[in-house]
Amino acid sequence: MSYQAETTALTDINLKIPKGDFVFLTGQSGAGKSTLLKLLYAELSPTRGQVLIDGVNLTRVPRSQIPFLRRSIGVVFQDYKLLPNRTVLENVAITLEVLGWGKRDIGKKVFHILKQMGLEDKINSTPLRLSGGEQQRVALARALVNDPKILIADEPTGNLDEENKEQILALFKEANIRGTTVVVATHDRRVIENSHRRVIRLEKGRILEVPDVQG
């Protein structure tokens, strides 16, 4: 994966993540973690090679079909990407509105997931009135509200204190238990050590080690 002729973000990546897996993607800043994640939700396409999700080759899918593919992937962005002028409810509802859900069903489902995240009393707040941890959980709620097959998170614990980190991680694990494949990019060692999951280490755009697939 190259951005320009002279800079290559990822090289010789050969990676398979089985269904229902929970993997951490780690490495220093600039190692290529975010680029790899962007390849997974088709924000970028590789200069060479292929990316397959559930048997579908993303590099061959027509551009017009990409939105439909993204609907089965929930993404928690590093900067959350919450819309500041919409309420928590509206921010989470976006995912379901895109799918064409009815207003009443959206209300029920969003309230349910926000309750799971412990945010039911913040439903009408705007993101700027929330703490970092709360914003992160809203972003996670938006990613999980339509029960995606895959959950991708880019540095989800970056700006959080220990208590919030654990809370977020527990929510990832819950989603994984319910069957969602989880891919988390982080450079936070403590998070990785405490969770005992498979770790893919990247350095300068190459995979350093891929431990055996467990379970």
């Binding site: 999700i53 593919l69 919409r86 976006i94 509105e97 895109v98 064409g100 029960d147 069957g179 494949t181």
Partner: protein
Amino acid sequence: MSRGNRSVRPKLGQEGVLGRLTYFFSRAMANLRQNVFVSAVTVGTISLALLIASLFLLVYVNLEGMAEGWSDKVQVTAYFDQEPPPLAVAALKERVQAIPGTAKVVFVSQVEAEKRLRGRLKGQESLLEGITPDVLPASLEISLDRKHRENEAVSAYVRSLKQISGIAEVQYGEEWVKRFNSFMNLFRLMGALLGGFMTIAVLFIVSNTIKLTIYARKEELELLGLVGATRFFIKAPFLIEGVLQGAAGAVISLVALLGCYFAFLKNAGNFLGINPASAGLSFLPNSHLVAIVFGGVLLGFIGSLTSLKRFIHV
């Protein structure tokens, strides 16, 4: 990675074209509420731009009307070598009326001509001593319809008039007609140029304002794409917003124009003394008002459409 135990999704709430439209419309209304400042800036710019354009149109339409009024002065006078007998006058008038381009024909007898001359020289009657009606020729005063007031049309008309027997001379202020027509051509050219430049300026200002307001919401566009919205789904509410803003801007500009009209322009004709025939400037005709509202809607729609292209990467 297909999953069998996935919970059954509720039925789609916005199925069908009407359902979708309702959703897009309510989304557009919510967006307008949530981006009040940005929307107000767009509506304000559109209304100001359209107000300037419609003020120009108002002045242009009035000047055009005034100039059309002046062209009523394009009158042809046909003098007879001898006054025709009263019975022949009606036949002569009919013959003239039959020439294409004739609007109105008035017969001026020798007596009438003398009466007019006396009227004009009131107070200096001594000049008229010894003058009898038979010195002045009888004539036909002919008004032409609008299509026949151009230079060449008038010349052609005069040629056919001269073929009528008994008509000795035809006068029509050739120089005046020429000057008037070249003034009208210049006026129309200036109008078209100014109008054209103004349209380009309005398009430029409005499309750039919309571009800026959409730029301010580029995160929203990006996010919608990332959660799986199709290009159409992202665009539709923005386009509806553009149309609503355009319509609102147009209506506000017309209200402001009406205000300006009643406050300053209604009596400007008297003040300037340009057209004593009318009491003042007239307001724009309904067809122009509809065109301005439609123009606003089109501005909002096209402005949004072209700006969105730049920011949607789905």
